[in-house]
Symmetry: C2
Subunit: 270 residues, 2 copies
C-alpha cells in the first residue's frame, strides 16, 4: 500500500521570507515514520485564486491526502476554506459542529464573559457542504476534513502549536492506517576526508548491490582540518521492519568497507 | 514594473522532513527588499520526472525568474540540470566555461594534487545547450543560467552557503534591475490583550482607508497573563520609498488609535 501526501502551505509571510516553513517540515517529519510519502510541498500566498488553483492542481496528481496549513482564521485574508470550496464548486454553509466547537472554545477561555458570535467568529465555523469540522484542541478555528474523489483533504491552521495538536489528534492515525504496514528506516554516516565527487561511485555501487536502499550524500562543509565533511543518509521503505533494518545496516557496512581505500574518517551519526 | 519569482526546491530530505527549507526562506527574504515578489515555492523530490514537470508548470505561469536550489552536484541523484534540459528538450553538453570553473576550483583547493576529471566531476560541467555557467565562489558545481521565453532560470546548489554566495554575486543585482524602482516597506506592531477575531474589523477598516497597505495578523500565543499576543504586519510595495514609509506609518497610527477602545497593550516590534 502507498500513502502519498501533498502539503500546501498558505501565507504571504512564507513568500516574503519573514517566516521559515517549519510547519511543512514538521508535518513531513511525522508522516515519514508513519509510512507515508510526502510527494510535493507547495507554498502559495493568501490569494483565493492561487490557493484554489494549487488545490485543484494537487487533486489532479491524485494523492491520498492533501494537508494545507494556514488561512483558516477569522481575518479577511484567511481564505483557505473559501478557496477549497471554490476549487470544487461547493457551497459554504455554517457548520453546526464547527459552531459548537467555536462556542465551546470561547466558553472555556472566557468563562465569565459573554462572547458574541461576530461575523469573523462565524467565519471560522463556515465550511463547505460535505466537509467535517475537526476539533482544534489548542485554538479557536476548527480544521476542515473533506473527501474529494479518493483524496482526503485536511485544512489545518497556520499556528504551529495548533497544526501540530490537530495532526497528532486527528491525522496521524488515519495516515498510519492508509500506509498499512509500511515502515521507513533511516541511518546516517559521517564521512570526513573524501570529496563528494569521489564518493559518488561508492554510492552507485552500494545502491546497485542493495536494491531498495537509497543513499544520499549531504555536503556539510569543506573548510577546516580533515577535509570535506559529508553526511551519508541511508534509507529504505519496506513492510518488514527487522528486515529493513538489516538491509540498511548491510548497505552501510559495504559502504564503510569500500571507503577504507579512501583514508576517510567514518563515524555513525546519532 | 513587476518582477515575479518562483522558487523550486529540490531534495528528498525536504520531503522526508529531515531538513527545513531555509534556502527558500533565505532567498525570499533577499528578493522582497529588492522589489521582487516570490509568487510560489514548490518542493519536489530528487526525481527527473518530478523536477522536469515542476519546471514546466512554473514556466507556464510566466514568472520573470525561476530559481531552483539543490540537485546540481556530482552524485547520481543530482538531476536538476538534466531535468531542466528535459523540460525544454535541450541537449546536454560539456560546457567549456563550466569545465574551466570546476578545474580552477580543484586547482585552488588542492594545489599540490592532480585531480582527475572523473565522470562525476565532468557531470558538474555538463549544461544544456544555450545555458551559461555561473561561478560558484565557495563550492565546486557552477550554477546554471538559462533563458526560456521571457523567464530567466537559475539553478543553484542546495548547500546554503553556496546558494547564498551565488545569489549575492550573480542574482541580486539582476533582480533589482528587473524590479525597477519598486521598494517594499514593512513594519510590525505587537498587540496584546485582543483576540484575533476582535482585531479583524480594525484591520478591514484601516486597509480600506489606506489603499496599498496590506495588514496581516500573526497570532503568537494565547497563554499567559495579558491575554492573546498578536503581531500585526504592515506592508506596502511602491515606487517612492519616502511616501511608502509615510503611508505605512499613517496606517499604523490609525490602527493604534482604533485599538485604544480595546484596552490593548501596543508596542512596536523592532
Amino acid at each position: 500500500m502507498t500513502c502519498n501526501v501533498e502539503l500546501l502551505s498558505v501565507g504571504n509571510e512564507l513568500l516574503l521570507g519573514n517566516t521559515v516553513n517549519t510547519n511543512a517540515s514538521w508535518i513531513a517529519s511525522q508522516i515519514t515514520p508513519l509510512g507515508g510519502v510526502v510527494t510535493r510541498i507547495t507554498t502559495v500566498p493568501d490569494s483565493l485564486e492561487e490557493i484554489s488553483k494549487a488545490v485543484k492542481e494537487a487533486i489532479g496528481r491524485k494523492p491520498d491526502f492533501i494537508i494545507t496549513t494556514g488561512g483558516i482564521g477569522p481575518t479577511f485574508d484567511d481564505m483557505t476554506i473559501k478557496a477549497v470550496a471554490k476549487a470544487f464548486r461547493l457551497r459554504l454553509k455554517l457548520n453546526e459542529a464547527a459552531l459548537q466547537m467555536v462556542r465551546e472554545h470561547y466558553g472555556r477561555r472566557f468563562p465569565n464573559r459573554k462572547i458574541s458570535l461576530t461575523p469573523p467568529r462565524l467565519k471560522m465555523a463556515t465550511l463547505p457542504v460535505g466537509g467535517l469540522a475537526v476539533p482544534n484542541p489548542v485554538g479557536t478555528a476548527p480544521a476542515l476534513h473533506l473527501n474529494v474523489g479518493n483524496t482526503q483533504i485536511y485544512c489545518l491552521p497556520g499556528v504551529p502549536k495548533e497544526a501540530e495538536a490537530i495532526f497528532r489528534e486527528s491525522l496521524s492515525q488515519t495516515i498510519r492506517c492508509k500506509a498499512g504496514n509500511k515502515v521507513f528506516v533511516e541511518k546516517w554516516l559521517k564521512v570526513q576526508g573524501v570529496m563528494e565527487s569521489a564518493l559518488s561511485p561508492v554510492i552507485d555501487k552500494v545502491m546497485s548491490q542493495w536494491p531498495g536502499v537509497y543513499i544520499k550524500s549531504h555536503p556539510r562543509g569543506a573548510e577546516g582540518k580533515g577535509g570535506p565533511r559529508i553526511e551519508l543518509h541511508f534509507s529504505i521503505s519496506a513492510s518488514d521492519s527487522a528486515r529493513a533494518e538489516r538491509t540498511v545496516l548491510g548497505a552501510m557496512a559495504d559502504a564503510i568497507r569500500l571507503l577504507r581505500g579512501y583514508k576517510a574518517r567514518i563515524t555513525p551519526r546519532r
